[in-house]
């Protein structure tokens, strides 16, 4: 057949949202010839929902992406308009950075980065088909009929697959933000035997700033001292904007109740499964009747626009109800809607069909990342994107995949949750999903991951150098604190008294001084014992001293966890033949084929009893192999006799 071959690549990335950008950049930066396809180049790295990056658990993800050599953190640092650390005072494990982003600036900046990336082609087209041969990817076909050949594909189609927007009783085929949907690729995926799910999400209305009376709202300023996302960023801008807080009231709730029958969520028009953590306002009002008021944050979408985002007011009510609801809020009495709120339904895949490398179990070289895997959120998407990009390259190079486990990174928790546990609703990252939260902090993401990013060939030399320098400084400072003994003196005891700390009568190590909860690193300046070190270094040293006992405990847990992860399950195991497994466990294990006992233990429906059976089985198998070996040995001995 005469097909026009538009190009030959190592890696093709389908979609240029947050997952696609990271995947494409990772592949290209690791030296593979890469192309990224996007329905519309003006929607690269679009933020069709909230105009911010980071937040609890998500901020940690951004730091991890950055530590590996990703782009999201850097671009966010360049385009943020307000920044804040959440959870200050609740402990370093949950400090999370969040920034309001200028949406257009972020898009423009990210597009520029893609365009300038060596090894990377940026192309506008709708990918309609994934081409395979013998369960191995061969290339893609686009809507013009042109074929592109490649060795690996990363699908990052977000919410575009068969996208359908619903507003009240109106619904139409559409991608997010009124963009063109991708209507053909779903069928191609299904034809390859891939199981699809239908999920739903939504976004609130955008209001014109000039129609808002801010005097009735509470100002939400950013932090005075701004911390960047990226370990590469030295200088950051100041805050440029403030956000505002207002509340729903009885009147709002009355309007919602009165019009509930007109919500497609309740009339059954929407079948997609929505997330519990970002329910629409009608959901909240119905489910939590006792709450008389809900918070609504009003956030600018950027510097060069009057569009304001109404966080907390996501809805799929018809437009006339939306306007009534919104105008019942203090300060929004005269609000004019620029874009109405909508719900969107889309196809995504059942992620349990993936390996931990994000490669499909059944097709060689076909990777998936982002919302198409059933996650939600820009950061979750980007995190999967960078991993899929890395693993596509490693696959082509014939190297072992890079799998971060639950004790190494939030990224590991995210992917393991998706792939192992499966999902029933869009998945949001939360710090409470991470078992080793005290170790997986945002402040040490580089210490956890930069070496790994460097070893796979993604993190740059410059990043690596910074990481090594920081590490050395931390170690040196740690040694100094352990070695330096402060003799008792009048000054030191006066200093201690000032901070309500116990007096000393014999020498004390600086290290032990810092263990005291009331003594902070910067206090040491007063006794001339603080070194002039970067803030990040002081922070690391302080946390590892103050939380030493807890960190040690966490490390012990991690060691135990690793032992189970290291117990590999053979790929060819036939679970239906193992006596003692429950029927459910047999089915699930045969379907999902976990890579280790640890992974098996996290599959829902596999009970601790089933795990005991597996352990007994592995043990028996081991003994059998051993005794077979011995028997053969015996036989030989006999022959010799």
């Amino acid at each position: 057949m005469d097909e026009f071959i538009g190009g030959v690549y190592d890696v093709i990335v389908v979609g240029a949202g947050h997952a696609g950008c990271e995947a494409a950049l990772a592949a290209a930066r690791m030296g593979c010839k890469t192309a990224v396809f996007c329905l519309n180049l003006d929607s690269i790295a679009n933020m069709p929902c909230n105009p911010n990056i980071g937040g609890t658990a998500k901020g940690q993800l951004v730091r991890e992406i950055d530590a590996l050599g990703g782009q999201m953190g850097i671009t966010a640092d360049e385009t943020f308009i307000q920044s804040k650390i959440l959870n200050r005072g609740k402990g370093p494990a949950v400090y999370s950075l969040r920034a309001q982003i200028d949406r257009r600036a972020y898009h423009t900046r990210m597009k520029w980065v893609l365009e300038n990336q060596e090894n990377l082609d940026v192309k506008q087209a709708e990918v309609t088909e994934v081409l395979c041969e013998n369960n191995k990817v061969k290339g893609i076909k686009v809507n013009t009929g042109t074929v592109y050949l490649c060795k690996a594909i990363v699908i990052t189609t977000g919410t575009y697959l068969k996208g359908r927007i619903v507003i009240g009783n109106t619904s139409y085929s559409s991608g997010p933000d009124g963009l063109y949907p991708a209507n053909k690729l779903s069928d191609s995926l299904r034809a390859l035997g891939i199981e699809l799910l239908r999920f739903k999400t939504g976004t609130p209305a955008r209001i014109n700033r000039r129609s808002i009376d801010f005097s009735k709202m509470v100002e939400q300023p950013g932090d005075d001292e701004i911390v960047p996302f990226s370990f590469m960023t030295d200088e950051v801008n100041d805050n440029q904007i403030v956000c505002y807080l207002t509340h729903t009231n009885n009147e709002t709730h009355r309007i919602i109740h009165e019009n509930l029958h007109r919500s497609p969520l309740y009339s059954g028009d929407i079948q997609g499964i929505g997330p519990r953590y970002c329910p629409s306002i009608e959901d909240k009002v119905v489910r939590f009747k006792e709450k008389e008021s809900h918070q609504v944050f009003v956030e600018p979408m950027g510097l060069n626009t009057n569009e304001m985002y109404l966080q907390g007011m996501s809805t799929s009510m018809p437009e006339d109800v939306q306007i009534k609801m919104i105008r019942s809020l203090p300060g929004l009495e005269n609000a004019t809607i620029m874009r109405p709120a909508y719900a969107i339904e889309y196809d995504c895949i059942d992620p349990t069909q993936l390996k931990l490398s994000l490669e499909l179990k059944t097709i060689d070289g076909l990777f998936f990342a982002g919302q198409v895997n059933g996650s939600s959120g820009y950061e979750e998407a980007a995190a999967q994107g960078i991993m899929a990009g890395i693993n596509a390259v490693l696959k082509i190079k014939g190297r072992e995949p890079l799998i971060l486990d639950r004790s190494q990174a939030y990224i590991g928790v995210l992917i393991d949750d998706l792939v192992t546990k499966g999902i029933k609703e869009p998945y949001r990252m939360m710090t409470s999903r991470a078992e080793y939260r005290l170790w997986l902090r945002q402040d040490n993401a580089d210490l956890r991951l930069t070496q790994i990013g460097y070893d796979v060939g993604l993190a740059s030399e410059e990043r690596y150098k910074r990481y090594i320098e920081k590490k050395e400084k931390i170690e040196a400072e740690f040694m100094r604190l352990k070695k330096t003994i402060i003799p008792p003196s009048k000054e030191i005891n006066e200093f201690l008294r000032k901070y309500n700390s116990a007096q000393i009568t014999s020498g004390i190590k600086l290290y032990d001084l810092l263990r005291r909860p009331e003594i902070e690193y910067h206090h040491l300046e007063e006794i001339g014992q603080a070194e002039d070190l970067p803030g990040q270094v002081k922070e690391q040293v302080t946390i590892s001293i103050k939380y030493e006992g807890y960190l040690e405990r966490q490390m012990n847990q991690i060691r135990q966890f690793k032992r189970m992860e290291e117990r590999k399950l053979p790929e060819d195991i036939d679970y239906s033949k193992i006596q003692g497994l429950s029927t459910e466990a047999r089915q699930k294990l045969n379907n999902q084929r976990p890579q280790s006992i640890g992974q098996a233990s996290r599959i829902s429906g596999v009970s601790p009893a089933d795990i005991s059976v597996l352990l007994i089985y592995l043990e028996a198998q081991k003994r059998k192999n051993k005794s077979n070996g011995e028997q053969i040995q015996d036989g030989k001995d006999k022959e010799q006799c």
Binding site: G91, P204, Y277, F297, R437, Y547, Y550, S607, A609, S612
Partner: protein, 459 residues
């Protein structure tokens, strides 16, 4: 590997007249036919019926015992395999020879707990049931097996699920605050965490205490009879055990070593220990005996401090009492030989002086029943209403409970020292994991679900 046939004695050896020999596996029936002679061949016997017959050695044609044979065909059996049970009342050595015969006919000795392991592997029971069954096998008295049965029915699981639920509640209040900091109306009050944790700790303490009692039931309460020479310790021992193992003479210092006896007082298993009387010993052998007595006191769950009513309390009694107090042991003060006080009035007077003590005459068999009651009362009262309480009988469970407790204690410390929420959450979660190890639940999923169902959050 799993299909071979195993055999073992399934009742605890030496505890009762009847031994049950159990065999499980696909060859059980054919092996039984080789050694059993009844009206019917075992092969023809209906499933779940009992048949009377003789065990005859096919090698020597010697009749070994008369027995009852129960046949149970898979899958409606304990192990889900073919099971044969042979009840013999010929005592341990006969049971042993029947078993040896089975081994020679093709069965293999069962490893400890292997029947249960098969039941478990064949999907007949789950892990915590398997552990409860292990305890039933070891159960020596009715009371223990009642506890074990109830555990089978999940009363421990219920109790622990309940406690977990409460911890999840505290934790979800904290977690929602950490994951949704903008969330306004659930201000985590540390005082809520504190007061709840205190209550939960109380519940855990009860469960842990119940284990001590469970252990006491399983292993027997160790009751040590102590007193100076010649007060009647050995006589009491013999009376309580209804045996004549301890030598009784009127020569002080007769008992020179420790004598132990397992007895059963109204359903409570007791390990009774007779000791050498404590006095300044001249004799070398006796000296060692006295040292051992003091050692025995250390291991006692309860001491019966016995004295001779006809003689005043002396230095030797004081020595023993002070040892008991030093080891912090509960004890029952007993005055023996009340028959030697002839005047009724005098006796009443003494009793009034020492109303908490018990008075008995072993030779006239007076007051022994009261002493038995006192022992039972101590065992049960100290351990509350055991018939209605959930008992922890498994050491693994107890270990998890203890660890859960220590994590919750550090929650309290953290709250009181104003530690950050992430640290408090860490300990709460750890305690949840420990409890989940008993019931087989995972913490994280539960907490995430609790957050979504209890709190109104979102964009």
């Amino acid at each position: 590997m799993i299909n071979d046939t195993i055999a073992g004695v399934s009742t605890a050896v030496g505890n009762s007249g009847i031994s049950v020999i159990r065999m499980s596996g696909s060859d059980s029936v054919s092996i039984a036919d080789k050694i059993f002679k009844g009206k019917k061949k075992v092969k023809e016997q209906e499933s779940h019926t009992i048949q009377y017959g003789k065990i005859i050695s096919p090698e020597t044609n010697e009749v070994i015992d008369e027995v009852l044979l129960t046949k149970m065909v898979a899958p409606r059996t304990y192990t889900r395999e073919d099971v044969i049970e042979i009840s013999s009342h010929g005592g341990y050595s006969i049971a042993r020879s029947i078993l040896d015969l089975l081994y020679r006919m093709g069965a293999r000795p069962a490893e400890p707990g292997e029947f249960t392991k098969r039941a478990f592997l064949n999907g007949r029971i789950d892990l915590s049931q398997a552990e409860a069954v292990m305890d039933i096998i070891q159960a020596r008295t009715d009371r223990v097996s009642k506890v074990a049965v109830r555990q089978l029915e999940g009363s421990l699981s219920n109790k622990i699920s309940n406690i977990r639920e409460r911890i999840i509640n505290i934790l979800s209040h904290i977690e929602v605050n950490l994951d949704y900091p903008e969330y306004d109306d659930e201000e985590v009050s540390a005082s809520m965490a504190e007061s709840e944790t205190i209550q939960i700790l109380d519940e855990l303490d009860k469960l842990i205490d119940s284990f001590n009692f469970g252990k006491l039931l399983r292993e027997g309460m160790e009751v040590v009879i102590a007193g100076r020479p010649n007060v009647g310790k050995s006589s009491l021992m013999n009376r309580l055990s209804r045996k004549n193992r301890s030598i009784v003479t009127d020569i002080p210092g007769t008992t020179r070593d420790i004598i132990e006896e397992y007895i059963n007082i109204k359903g409570i298993p007791v390990k009774l220990v007779d000791t050498a009387g404590v006095r300044e010993a001249e004799d070398k052998v006796e000296k060692i005996g006295v040292e051992r007595t003091i050692k025995a006191l250390e291991g006692a769950d309860l001491v019966i401090m016995i004295s001779d009513i006809s003689e005043p309390l002396g230095q030797e009694d004081q020595t023993i009492l002070s040892k008991i107090k030093e080891y912090n042991k509960p004890y029952i003060m007993v005055f023996n030989k009340t028959d030697l006080i002839e005047e009724e009035r005098r006796l009443e007077e003494i009793k009034r002086e020492n109303p908490k003590a018990l008075y008995l005459s072993v030779t006239e068999d007076k007051g022994v029943e009261e002493l038995e009651d006192a022992i039972v009362k101590y065992a049960t009262e100290n351990n509350q209403d055991i018939d209605n309480q959930v008992l922890v009988t498994n050491a693994r469970h107890e270990n998890h409970l203890r660890r859960a407790k220590s994590f919750l204690e550090s929650v309290l410390t953290s709250v009181r020292n104003n530690m950050t929420l992430d640290i408090i959450a860490l300990d709460l979660k750890a305690s949840l994991e420990e409890l989940g190890s008993i019931t087989g639940d995972h913490a994280d999923e539960d907490v995430v679900n609790a957050i979504f169902s209890r709190f109104c959050i979102g964009k």
